[in-house]
Each structure stands twice: as C-alpha cells, then as structure tokens.
C-alpha cells in the first residue's frame, strides 16, 4: 500500500506502457485510417510520458526537450498522414485501411 500511495517514476512508466499498448492494439486491429492515425498519436504520447518522467527522475531537462521534438514530429506526421488520407479518400472514396493494397492507381 505504501508503494501505491507514493508515486514513483515506475508508476509513470507503467502508465506510459499501458498507453503504448493501447496504441499498438489500435494500430494493429482497426480498419479506419483516421483511428489508426490517432492510435499512432497515442503511442507517441506514451513515449513522451516516459521521456518527461525520466527527465524528472534524473533532474535534467533533456527529456523534456526531446518530448518537444516528439510533439513536433507528431504534428508533421499528422499533417502528412491526413494529407495521404485525403488523397486516398478522393480516389477510393473510403477510409478503410484494408483497401490500401495498391502501390499506385
């Protein structure tokens, strides 16, 4: 019980791992491209949580700076991913990822 009430770094890491797993399940099982992209965001956020938690643990700010880079990356990924989604939807009129089975159309 003592360990439950005293929040240590491990708690944050477990939370991050759980989020990561949720994201992985989403990416692997969903058919809707939008939700797959959102699951990727979940994964990136889980990583961020770990980075910031470690930064707190070691008292440095490198983890936080890296988290900011990851957020930048997520923005780029979302923009390109949604751009692909729009192009895909325009050609196939669906957002189903199973239909993405051609390299070119």
């Amino acid at each position: 019980m003592e360990s439950m009430l005293h929040i240590t770094t491990l708690h944050y890491l477990v939370l991050g791992a759980a989020l990561f797993l949720l994201g992985v399940i989403g990416v692997l099982t969903r058919r809707n491209v939008v939700i797959v992209l959102m699951s990727i965001e979940l994964i990136l956020n889980a990583v961020n949580l770990n980075l910031v938690a470690f930064s707190r643990l070691w008292g440095g700010l490198h983890g936080q700076v890296f988290a900011i880079f990851v957020i930048t990356d997520a923005a780029a990924e979302a923009a390109v991913g949604l751009g692909i989604l729009i192009a895909f939807f325009r050609n196939k009129e669906t957002v189903n990822i199973d239909e993405v089975n051609l390299l070119k159309w």
Binding site: L42, Q64, D73
Partner: protein, 169 residues
C-alpha cells in the same frame, strides 16, 4: 508551488487517460475517438505539470489539443464517415494483433519487474520557476542543430501535405 495530493491526482488522471485510450481504439465513430483522444491528451498535460514540466504541458495543450486534434476533426468532417461506420470496425487479423500486443505487454512487465531496482527511490529535486528559460537555453544551445532539423521536417511535412491533398497544383 509544490503539487498537492499527488497520489490522488495521479490515479485520477491516469484513470482518465486509460479510459480515454480505450475509447479511442474502440469507438465506431471517429469523432468520438478524436474527442476521447483529446481528453487523454489534456489529462497527460496535467500529468506533465505534476512532473515539473510546465512548458511541455503548455506545448501539449496548444499543439496537440488545439492544433493537431482540430486538424483531425477537420479531416474527419471533410471525408464522409457514414459508410465506414456501417462496415466492420476491426480487421481480419485482429486476434493476431491482440496476441502481439499482449506479448509486448508481457515484455514490458518482465523488463519493469527485473529493472525496478535500477531507478533511484526518490527523484532529484527540480525547480519549476525557470523551467521555460532552461528549455530555451537548451533548445537554442545544445540542441540547435536538432531544432533546425525539426523545423525542416515541418517544412517538408507542410509541402508534402499540400501536394497530396490539393486537387490541382
């Protein structure tokens, strides 16, 4: 000001985050998923505040909740979702997917139980007051090159998104 009632808020926020995460991957309607994801992200911003990272928390709110998720919602409303909502939501290899994820989870558990002892029991003290200034110093000092690469990446992403989404260029 030191965080108050840390365990309570930690469990509250992580509960919100996990429920939000589950909703993200199970909802049929992408708009509901997106809103669940927003809740998760906001809860995560609060957890950043508990971890003495106010600047990252602010960036999380502005960029993720206010920027990226609005983009997501925008695109969801642009493409018609009626058809995809009537279809099957999970793909045919969902069993394999869940098994793989469970295996990954097992790996995490193994690593954490084995490596629990390498973490110090108590975190080092941190000052919150000049967090922003310190991050700025690092971003524009030590990580200058990475910063420039990140901005280049964003530029490439902008151009790529425009090229792909625009009908005629």
């Amino acid at each position: 000001m030191a965080p108050v009632a840390t365990p309570f808020f930690f469990y509250l926020l992580s509960g919100i985050m996990l429920i939000g995460g589950i909703l993200v991957i199970t909802r049929k309607n992408p708009v509901h998923s997106a809103l669940a994801l927003i809740v998760t992200l906001l809860a995560q911003a609060s957890i950043y505040l508990m971890l003495y990272a106010p600047f990252v928390a602010g960036v999380q709110i502005i960029l993720y909740a206010g920027g990226i998720m609005v983009l997501f919602l925008f695109v969801i409303m642009l493409v018609s979702i009626d058809r995809s909502m009537k279809e099957r939501q999970f793909n045919s290899q969902w069993v394999v997917g869940i098994v793989a994820a469970t295996a990954l989870g097992g790996l995490f558990i193994a690593v954490y139980t084995k490596g629990k002892d390498i973490f110090p029991e108590h975190a080092l003290p941190m000052v919150e007051n000049d967090n922003t200034q310190q991050i700025a110093t690092m971003l524009y000092g030590q990580y200058m090159f990475a910063f420039e690469i990140a901005s280049l990446l964003l530029l490439v992403a902008i151009i790529g998104a425009v090229v792909m989404a625009k009908k005629r260029i």
